[in-house]
Amino acid sequence: MSKLKGQVQEQGFGRRSLGGEPLVYHCNFYNYWLQKTVLLVDDLGMEEIIQDAAAASAFACLKGLSGQDSAQAEALFAYLGFGQIDLSEVTAAGGHATTSVSHYGQCLSSAAGVPFAKPQSRFDAGFAAGAGAWAHGRLASGFGASIQACMSVGAEQGKVGLKGRVQPDFMQTYGMGPASTDARPPNTWAAVDQAAVDQAVQALHLVGNEEGLIPRFGVMLTQHFAHFYNRLSFEFLRRMSHTGMRMAGEHLLIDAGYRCAFHTFGGIFNSAEWEALMGSKVASREAGAHSMASIVSALGWGRWRLVEISDRRAVLRLYDDYESLGYQAMYGAASRPVAFLAAGGLGGLMNLLYLGDVLDKPVLDNDYFERVFEHPDAFAVHQTKSIAMGDAYSEIVADR
């Protein structure tokens, strides 16, 4: 496997970029739930959006890195934790790509808990199309991709067919987009030194291993394209709005965030990595919440600061959250707040800590999920400010 030429740039407020594209860490659970969510309604045409968002992101990232060749694209796929892809059978006219290891093909099943009826590797297909197009001098839209075999439905390896196409209107990524404002995140908890947490998370070296996967914090991580997540979420919302179901769409995206919180935060709280990083600092639920906010702030999601927290209410301020910045860059000013992942994440975090006693390391199974997240006294979340609406920071309130 070739080594990636290029490296992640650390920017303000914990933002991270590669080849000019913002990256965020998410795990197999969120990747499963977000994909499942946006595909819930059959006739929205989201399969194509998933593939095109992956193609546009891969193409833009590779364009921002040096080297116009397949080896660089294969190295990128592995470095980001998506697995191993072979693009050697792709030419300027098309061909096929194969995956011997695939995050989407193999790691989503543990999140679903049941066998899949349909292939899950739409991201891989899009990546192959975008990477193939870049490596062979075509436009980002230059290949149409079809999944010919997928490990999520039992194939021994994944296979994506690529065929040349002409598609003048194709989505663009927005690069790093605008930085929000000069507002500074407040220091909200003396025990957390954000710079030290950033450094400690970096030292974990969360990049693809020799298989191209990132098995850390008890989950399978990916360093993913923020553009990909945002395009899926906001295009889903836009299309739901056209059918008069915007509010339902918002609730579904927040629910995906809840599930992300349950598994990702739950997994982190239970992980050896968490203990190693936080040690004895986490002696209370409040300390747990602040500590998790500091870890999240090192994952490319923007800076999370809990400016108020009690067993009944929490107020979270977000500085440069990737959802609000992405929305603004893609669609302009928003009329409503758009930090859905973060909203679900805060609700999930509070429920884990105050209803689920997650610091006692419970078994995170479905019974636990139902008991905690469907509790009649569970926290509800409200977005009260948004960078995408022109505020200096985004703000989410969780209360019960």
Binding site: Q106, G218, V219, H263, A272, D365
Partner: protein, 100 residues
């Protein structure tokens, strides 16, 4: 036997096993026991120095994440047969290191 094995119940089901040891082992002894084809490295996780051994596309071991604990993680690429062989080899090496 001076270790206990637990399957990690979380999402990497079937891939990760936690071994609790009744006394500490020397990383050098474990390296010798597991063999030269398993690459050794180390990372700093917060206040801890973690020793890591990787047999590419087969398994990874981590020592030092918690006191008296060793984590063994199969790789996705390893077949079911290979996993049985690798875990047996790992446990044999661990037993050897514990005896030294």
């Amino acid at each position: 036997m001076s270790f206990e094995r637990f399957a990690d119940p979380r999402c990497q089901r079937g891939l990760t096993f936690v071994y609790r040891l009744d006394h500490s082992i020397d990383p050098g002894d474990f390296s010798l026991a597991i063999g030269p084809d398993v690459a050794r490295s180390k990372q700093v996780w917060g206040s801890r120095e973690v020793q890591i051994w990787i047999a590419p596309k087969r398994f990874e071991c981590q020592l030092g994440v918690r006191d008296l604990e060793l984590r063994f993680m199969h790789r996705f690429s390893a077949s079911a047969e290979q996993r049985v062989i690798d875990r047996s080899r790992f446990e044999e090496a661990l037993s050897t290191a514990l005896r030294r």
